[in-house]
């Protein structure tokens, strides 16, 4: 697929598949072709999974990725991430609607904008061997392991080292090098 053709496809079909969008995005980086945030966030989450190790987990078992049941971005992520494998492990995508269902997740993507609710969910996830990723502002300083945020029209991410240690997961140094490091002490009130 030539870059031009790919770009054309993106214009015509709103993200038929993430690979296409990304192919378009990557190949036209120089020309700053934007990619839908939801598709981009999916790709980030896949990369986060790739560079994360869970202790005490059967290496052959699928990775349970939990996405919010009722969220637009969850739809896009579920569509692009179903059937994918990371490091030889299948990613099994679960749409969850109740906070009680998060307990067994290995990866939990949170889009909850309501601070009270976000706090409740993060409290339920805290200490569990779970990679919590959120695109909510200041979520890392409030306990999510990774926060995706926008800067200069591009996505960046912050990692809360304390949350990572509490959750007994190991995030590769390659991610840590690219991330803004946050600690619990940086905690600010949520918006």
């Amino acid at each position: 697929m030539t870059p031009f053709a790919a770009q054309h496809t993106v214009g015509r079909v709103w993200c038929a598949g993430l690979a296409m969008c990304l192919a378009a995005g990557i190949s036209v980086v120089g020309r700053a072709q934007p990619v839908p945030a939801s598709a981009l966030k999916s790709a980030f989450v896949m990369n986060f999974i790739k560079f994360t190790e869970w202790r005490d987990v059967d290496a052959a078992a699928p990775i349970k990725l939990c996405l919010p049941a009722e969220e637009t971005i969850g739809d896009v992520m579920a569509q692009t991430m179903r059937g994918q494998s990371v490091n030889g492990r299948r990613v099994s995508v679960h749409r969850i609607a109740a906070v009680d269902a998060v307990r067994d997740c290995q990866v939990l993507f949170l889009t909850e904008r309501d601070p009270q609710r976000l706090r409740t969910i993060l409290a339920a996830a805290n200490h569990a061997p779970m990679l919590t990723v959120s695109d909510v502002e200041r979520s890392a300083s409030y306990g999510a392991v990774i926060e995706l945020y926008e800067e200069g029209g591009r996505l960046r991410f912050a990692i809360n080292i304390d949350s990572m240690e509490r959750s007994r997961i190991k995030v590769s140094s390659r991610l840590l090098d690219l991330a803004k490091i946050v600690r619990d002490a940086d905690r600010q009130p949520l918006p």
Binding site: P34, I73, A98, T111, E112, A123, L155
Partner: protein, 664 residues
């Protein structure tokens, strides 16, 4: 089985699509990702709803818990939940909720949903919670038990509670599993299931199961204890045969479910005045169900759209042997049958509005193609009946949730239902206050109705034509508190008022012309008050302790209802042993209950234990003992039973072996 072909065809298409290979998003390096510009997309709508903010009091039982505590039917699941109790008449299981378990009520006042779709049939409105559900319990991802009326969202039957069963996805099964079980009372079970998430968003889950049980060989009913009726012993009449198949396919925005189940049960209680201990042609019922449903969900410009349609088929056959005076017919056989066929279509929309508001609305239409009932006798000189009916009804609803302050959430909804005989609007409201993180105080106001079902309207041919729906109004205050991450506590107190109860009674007072006839009328009101306390503890290692206490009082004309215990205590403990083994114990205590004859059955106290042991990489053993201490207790019977109480099954053991092949 035409739908099997459809499923096969769809999965074939899916396989063809999958062969083109999935796009590998992990191939894009994270450094490159960080260079890509973000396109502005307006999105974000609804959210994860913490239990503390649901506009009702909710309990969730997961598939893991079903396995770990050895629950064999939905009735077992509901038994484990705070405030619910189950009675069994050796044919069906009946739900008791908030002190209500009316004799003769076929679970018409609890709405059972399978992946959000109404399961209660279109003739009796029965929620099948025993083996007659026709779904292998191993296929359940979780069961949500939502207390209180919910007609404002779901219409009729959502009277005392809604029970929503969500099934497992292929991705969560990821492989093949086969198991066999054997147990006391001649019980054998075989099940096979498989599931997989393919590329391109295609997910397939299938299962099939067979179960046979001879049941208790000799059941003693003191009411029949005469030499002429085998000294009150029903021999070999507790048999049950069950079969089920299930398939669910998700592809992109579409999801299809096809399920079918069948159960045949012998009835040892000689109900409806049949011959006790009849061996030639035993009293028996057969329930069969099948459903085909499709859903389509997608998000358009921030609005989430869900369309769904379903076709339901339900069939019941009963054989009832009666004594006969005619030497040509030593046994007079009454064949009773019902068939319900319906289709429905619905739409649901939800979106977030500015000002921290979420609005949901939708509509649903039901067409009951057949609501047929018939009965006939082996002696052709006795008149039978064929009752053919059909009907339609529809509902529209809207619900809004507004967060006025970070600590204050308001939730309100209303639904209008239109039946051929009546129309009804049902509101609901909730005020949820979260004074600090992890705690909430809810005030819940609810109303609900239950429309008279086809059986109540037509079976006796004598029901007055103006039979109206039943009505309930409820107030409830719930306090929920999460203490740290390991302890959850809740306390709830409620007041329920039911009026216009649809009651089976003599119609003599109703009309001169139908003297001596029986039928259904709106008569009676019930008041109930209660207090429910619950505490749940979970540790990081997987240890779980759940305890609850319920005090309730449901009265009709200032008399305590039959089959309504004042006290219930439940406790369960689950202990992980090593990495994959698990042991659990459960204790359920129910206080004494009145019977129809205004007698009393003793308090019942039952302990169940279950364990799982992996013995090889792909093999595991399970063992369970229900009613470990062999408590001999009884449930109150109904009008159709000569015995005032129905003895319940004693100790029952089961062992099983399961083979799992995990996909990669």
């Amino acid at each position: 089985m035409r739908w099997l072909f459809v499923v096969a065809l769809l999965s074939l298409q899916a396989t063809v699509a999958a062969a083109q290979g999935p796009p590998d998003v992990t191939r894009v390096d994270i450094e490159d990702l960080m260079r890509i510009e973000v396109e502005r997309v307006f999105g974000a709508s609804e959210r994860l709803q913490p239990v503390t903010e649901a506009p009702s009091s909710v309990s969730i039982v997961t598939g893991d818990e079903i396995e770990r505590y050895g629950y064999r039917t939905l009735a077992d699941v509901l038994r484990s939940v705070r405030g619910f109790y189950i009675s069994n008449d050796r044919n069906y299981s009946y739900i008791g909720a908030r002190g209500f378990a009316r004799p003769g009520d076929y679970n018409t006042r609890v709405l059972l949903l399978l992946n959000g779709h109404r399961v209660n049939d279109s003739v009796y409105d029965q929620a099948p919670i025993g083996a007659e559900l026709g779904l292998d319990m191993a296929m359940i991802e979780r069961v949500e038990v939502i207390r209180g009326p919910a007609s404002s969202l779901y219409g009729t039957s959502a009277f005392f509670a809604v029970v929503n069963v969500t099934t497992r996805s292929g991705g969560s099964m990821n492989g093949l599993s086969a198991g066999v079980e054997a147990g006391t009372h001649g019980t054998t079970v075989a099940r096979v299931s498989g599931g997989r998430q393919f590329a391109d968003g295609v997910d397939l889950a299938v299962s099939g199961s067979l179960q046979r049980s001879e049941g208790e060989q000799h059941i003693h009913f003191p009411a029949f204890d005469t030499p002429a009726t085998n000294n009150g012993i029903a021999d070999g009449l507790d048999r049950e045969h069950v079969g089920s198949v299930y398939a669910r396919l998700t592809a992109g925005n579409f999801a299809f479910t096809a399920a079918s189940g069948s159960r045949k049960k012998y009835v040892p209680t000689a109900s409806y005045g049949t011959i006790f201990n009849e061996q030639e042609i035993p009293e028996q019922t057969t329930d069969q169900r099948a459903v085909l449903m499709g859903e389509y969900t997608r998000t358009l410009a921030g609005t989430r759209l869900a369309l769904d349609g379903a076709y339901d088929w339900y069939d019941y056959d009963g054989i009832y042997p009666y004594p006969s005076d005619d030497p040509g017919f030593p046994v007079l056989i009454n064949s009773d049958a019902a068939q319900g066929i319906r289709w429905n279509a619905g739409v649901r929309l939800s979106r977030a509005l500015p000002g921290r508001q979420t609005i949901t609305g939708g509509g649903i239409f039901y067409k009951n193609l057949r609501q047929n009932m018939s009965y006939s006798y082996s002696d052709p000189s006795i008149e039978g009946a064929d009752l053919f009916h059909s009907s339609r009804h529809s509902g529209i609803y809207v619900q809004d949730e507004i967060r006025l302050f970070p600590w204050l959430l308001l939730n309100g909804g209303i639904r209008y239902d239109r039946y051929e005989q009546f129309g009804r609007a049902t509101p609901r409201g909730a005020v949820i206050v979260s004074p600090w993180s992890g705690s909430s105080l809810k005030y819940l106001y609810g109303e609900a109705f239950r429309a008279p079902n086809s059986y109540e309207l037509y079976y006796y041919g004598t029901t007055p034509p103006d039979l109206q729906p039943e009505f309930i109004r409820t107030h409830e205050v719930v306090w929920e508190q999460y203490l740290g991450e390991w302890l959850r506590t809740s306390a709830s107190t409620y007041r329920y008022a039911v009026s216009q109860l649809i009651t089976f009674q003599s119609l003599e007072s109703e009309s001169e012309t139908i003297q001596g006839q029986w039928g259904f009328v709106n008569d009676g009101a019930i008041d109930a008050n209660g207090l429910e306390l619950e505490a749940e503890m979970r540790t990081k290692d997987g240890l779980q302790v759940l305890t609850s206490y319920v005090l309730q009082e449901a009265t009709q004309a200032e008399t305590l209802l039959t089959n309504s215990p004042r006290h219930m205590v439940k406790a369960r403990l689950g202990v992980p042993i090593g990495r994959r083994a698990f042991a659990s114990a459960e204790w359920q205590m129910m206080g004494e209950r009145h019977t129809l004859a205004r007698d009393t059955v003793d308090a019942a106290s039952v302990v169940n234990v279950t364990t799982h042991w992996p013995i090889a990489r792909r093999l595991s053993l399970t063992g369970s003992i229900a009613n470990l201490f062999d408590q001999r207790y009884a449930d109150p019977g109904s009008d159709e039973h000569v015995p005032d109480v129905i003895p319940q099954i004693g100790r029952a053991m089961r062992i099983g072996v399961r083979w799992d092949l995990q996909g990669r």
